[in-house]
Amino acid sequence: MARQSNRYIHILRIVLAVVGAAVMLFVYLNHSEKLNTPLMDFFTDDFLAQTGADNAVAAIYLNYRVFDTLFEALMLMVSVMEVINVSWANKHADRYQFEEDDMYYKNNSELVARMVGIVYPFVILLGLYIIANGHVSPGGGFQGGAILATALISRYLVYPNFDLDLHIIEKMEKILFLFIVLTPVLYVFMQIQPDNTVISHQVYMVFMNTLIGLKVFSGLSIIFYRFVFYEGADNTFIDR
């Protein structure tokens, strides 16, 4: 019977999860050992003079291990491309038409609109502050970019009709990615530096953080608006 086998499979899954957790915990608690930390000693030894950053984490992801950052920026761009290409509206673009709906203006909440109107300059200011001070205090490009994207998403909460032109943001993201790849290759890998002082390193850090922040902001806003714009439409476009 299908019911019987369903019950057996369900019990098997529960047993698998519980036994797996028990085995992992047992192995971890009995056989884990403490190793030396040569990487941490090397990185936290003299990171201000070598990289110009007060924040050790920023020194690591912008100078010592900048290769990982390049691939993370690439991964964000790949996920933006995937969101654009898998979306249904691309394949059936000739059947898709959205109508301007005046009812949207009446159904919006006035409280949300006014409060977001007061708050969003401060959100943008906070995002720019976290980006620019990423090498001195906690923060950096990724965090600041996410906060800037939140400011743009709040625009959707206030005004959910669709008139944002995404082409400029898409072009900006690709150009920014090109610069993000070019700058560490020239500065860190090929060591084309004006002079080896702390000031020069700090200029490089602020520049990289700004590039990364703007790129993350464009990527996340494209993902979100693509989501909402094309996929939030109702189901009347299935068969036509």
């Binding site: 999860a17 990487l39 936290t44 007060d54 050790a56 690591i60 898998v86 249904w88 996929e231």
Partner: protein
């Protein structure tokens, strides 16, 4: 009763991973599956961050060495991992919407050709 110092960050990370794994295996709706994957990833982040933790350290910022620094290496790696996690979530949800448009149902099912309700 086990002593309370068994509840460290690593053990809770392993526990969260397996809670997420159970949710991934048994839930019938697609959005629940994606949420369970997000919980699994959160468990792994917690495991990595607590891997060299001792209570008398300070965050690795600044130059005044009044106490030992906390480990900045797993912290820097996990920032990357969190951004990748949201990328995976976005891709998963886009595929879910596409699936709903094509098949009309929002849960896993054996015969996908059946028509869902008209809601």
């Amino acid at each position: 009763m086990k002593p309370l110092n068994l509840i460290t960050g690593e053990t809770v990370g392993i526990l969260l991973f397996f809670i997420g794994l159970y949710g991934l295996m048994t839930k019938k709706t697609i959005v629940k599956t994606i949420m369970s994957m997000s919980i699994m990833e959160a468990g792994i982040y917690l495991f990595y961050i607590t891997i060299n933790f001792s209570p008398d350290t300070v965050p690795p910022i600044g130059q005044s060495r009044e106490a030992a620094f906390a480990d900045p290496v797993p912290s820097a790696l996990m920032i990357t991992a969190i951004v990748i996690g949201i990328g995976v979530t976005a891709i998963g949800l886009t595929m879910f919407m596409h699936y709903k448009q094509q098949h009309g149902i929002t849960h896993w099912s054996r015969n996908r050709n059946q028509q869902g309700s008209e809601h």
